[in-house]
């Protein structure tokens, strides 16, 4: 009787994988966007997910964050079974994500966007009292705005920002609070070469305990910021390995690197 709680507490103490998926499937009608995906990522590990369009990469993210419930399967986050949790509960446990198409609050200022992100993972989300000027969360938000080089535009409405700036803000929102694991969904899409360099810098200078999974088509970005790669194809995991192994794998080249993406 006492064995299970003991194992649970041990698991959440840090010996468990950051993320563990067992037999996760997601059906849209008859279409299996994900079928029987089993995946585990260690704390602090940086993993790339590759695959052609429709391989199920974004659906995988949506299942992990809880935007969609998986049709079958189990998801554990730092040892805790979060399969039935709504998104906000997973986020409050240290999971973060960015979106492929920027998903921001266009009617609010840059600073307010980041402030909301910081507030979302703290207490007093329903507070009716305005924050003081020396509020810790306001400072945290300003720090994050600076970290993604947006200090100059922090009072501008997000709807007025350039595309690249919105992508940077997208990342700032994912870094709010105390993230333990982040899902990046094509963060480099549409960025200029300079902005890509900034992005690589931001990713490689994240604290070592923060692991992430990154979906990225740009090999220059993807292979420089990950230590392991998972290849997906038609909703299934097709191959896993080190970046150089995957890059030189003939099957992978046949399927993905040579398959119209060059």
């Amino acid at each position: 009787m006492s064995a299970v709680p003991a194992r649970e507490s041990l698991a959440s103490a840090g010996s468990a994988n950051a993320l563990e998926l067992r037999g996760v499937s997601r059906l849209f009608g008859a279409l299996a966007a994900l079928s029987d995906v089993t995946l585990s990522v260690r704390p602090g590990e940086r993993r790339g997910v590759l695959g052609s369009n429709g391989a199920g990469k974004t659906t995988l993210f949506n299942c992990i964050t809880g935007d969609f419930a998986p049709s079958t399967g189990l998801i554990r986050f730092f040892g805790e079974d979060v399969t039935a949790f709504p998104p906000q509960e997973r986020i409050r446990r240290g999971l973060r994500r960015t979106y492929q198409i920027s998903s921001l609050f266009t009617g609010l200022s840059v600073l307010d966007n980041v402030y909301l992100a910081c507030r979302g993972v703290s207490r007093n989300r329903f507070s009716l009292v305005r924050p003081r000027r020396d509020d810790a969360l306001v400072h945290a938000a300003e720090g994050l705005v600076e970290a993604v080089h947006l200090s100059a535009v922090k009072d501008r409405l997000v709807g007025e920002l350039a595309y690249g700036q919105q992508r940077q803000l997208e990342i700032a929102l994912a870094l709010s609070g105390a993230p333990r694991f982040i899902l990046f969904d094509e963060p480099a899409a549409g960025l200029s070469p300079t902005e890509r360099r900034d992005l690589v810098h931001i990713l490689t200078s994240l604290p070592a305990h923060i692991g992430y999974i990154i979906i990225e088509h740009d090999m220059d970005v993807a292979l420089r910021v990950v230590e392991s790669v998972t290849m997906m194809h038609n909703g299934r995991i097709f191959k896993e390995g080190r970046p150089d192994e995957i890059e030189s794998d003939p099957e992978v080249q046949e399927l993905y690197l040579g398959g119209g993406h060059g």
Binding site: G107, R125, S127, P131
Partner: protein
């Protein structure tokens, strides 16, 4: 300029002193504030109560709708129903001419309980409709409003059916009869100013910001750790509280309440008032309400003056609504902002022209 104004507001997020906030107000704010304060010296009792106090009461009901729609993206038609519910409760719990139903509680018990129960009612109807979006929210809240209307119309044991309640008297306390024109005007003015200030304040507090976040992007809000449904229900509660206070004032103003107060007509009128005034700022609903009351009051004479049937005043309101929605999606507030912007651009251009001209001799 509108954008610059918005940015000013964005920067004011952190807490500032009330004097600092006052100092940032423009001329228009001060003119309106002083005018409203000295109104009893200028206006006749008819204008004071039938026009201004009544407008402010309707403006309060619509203010709740503006809060929901402008900040939360929720269009609820049940606002007037919440106000009518509070009005009915004041009549049922307190004193009225229907003494076999009224419980004759003193006003200081009846009014707070009425506000509390009506707020609860508004929150529950919000919880019912919260998982829907857009047109479906409108449909559900319209269904709730109709249900309340028919309940009040057909129930005689509690709501006294078609005739409702009359003989409801505003309270007398602190030695003042609050039903008199002057005290009643200042009472509604104070309530309106408080609610207006509260909406502005809350809109920049974490709760209000989060509500605007759920309006712009509910999915991302959940991905930031917010419970979107709970936030929307809390917004319903806040808006219902404002509507409930307005309902108490309304029943004191009318001194009677009947199912017609909660009919489908008045319910939709609230939406018209809020949209005509403008959903982007809390002052919008008050302007919309003033225009509505003026049209309602004077269009009869105007129409008869040009030889039309005076009962067609709804036609004027409808036409005005159409024109405003067609030409200015953000209501009269939007027209005002655009005029001001044009005026500023014009004066800047004139100044520039004068500088160039001044250099030549």
């Amino acid at each position: 300029m509108a954008i610059a104004d918005l940015n000013l507001e964005q920067r004011a997020r952190t807490r500032e002193g009330f004097p600092a906030w006052l100092a940032r107000r423009g001329t228009a704010f001060w003119v309106v504030a002083v005018l409203l304060l000295v109104m009893p010296a200028i206006a006749s009792p008819f204008w004071l109560v039938q026009i201004f106090a009544y407008s402010m009461i309707l403006g309060l009901v619509a203010l709740g709708l503006m809060f929901l729609a402008g900040y939360g993206g929720i269009v609820s038609l049940a606002q007037m129903t919440v106000a009518a519910c509070a009005g009915y409760l004041v009549a049922i719990l307190g004193d009225s001419a229907i003494s076999q139903i009224s419980l004759h509680w003193p006003w200081w018990m009846a009014a707070p309980v009425a506000i509390l129960v009506a707020t609860l009612f508004g929150t529950l109807s919000g919880a019912l409709s919260v998982r829907t979006e857009g047109i479906y929210t409108i449909m559900i809240t319209l269904a709730i409003a109709s249900a309340f209307y028919y309940l009040a119309l057909q129930n005689y044991t509690i709501f006294n059916g078609f005739s409702g309640f009359n003989g409801i008297k505003p309270p007398v306390f602190l030695g003042v009869d609050w039903g008199q024109n002057l005290p009643f005007y200042y009472l509604t003015l104070a309530c309106s100013a408080l609610a207006y200030g509260a909406v502005i304040y809350v809109s920049r507090a974490p709760f209000g910001l989060a509500l605007q976040g759920t309006r712009d992007n509910p999915r991302r809000m959940a991905a930031l750790g917010f419970d979107v449904v709970a936030h929307r229900i809390a917004a319903y509660a806040f808006a219902s509280f404002i509507a409930a206070c307005a309902g108490v004032l309304l029943v004191w103003y009318q001194r009677q309440i009947s199912p017609g107060t909660a009919g489908v007509g008045p319910v939709v009128d609230m939406l018209i008032i809020a949209v005509v005034g403008g959903l982007s700022r809390p002052i919008g609903p008050f302007i919309g309400a003033l225009v509505y009351v003026l049209l309602r009051t004077f269009s009869l004479d105007m129409l008869e003056g040009v030889g039309l049937d005076g009962k067609r005043y709804q036609l004027l309101i409808g036409l005005g609504f159409l024109v405003i929605v067609l030409f200015s999606p953000d209501g009269l507030i939007g027209i005002w902002q655009r005029l001001r912007e044009r005026y500023r651009k014009g004066s800047e251009a004139r100044e520039a022209g004068m500088r160039i001209g001044g250099g030549s001799p």
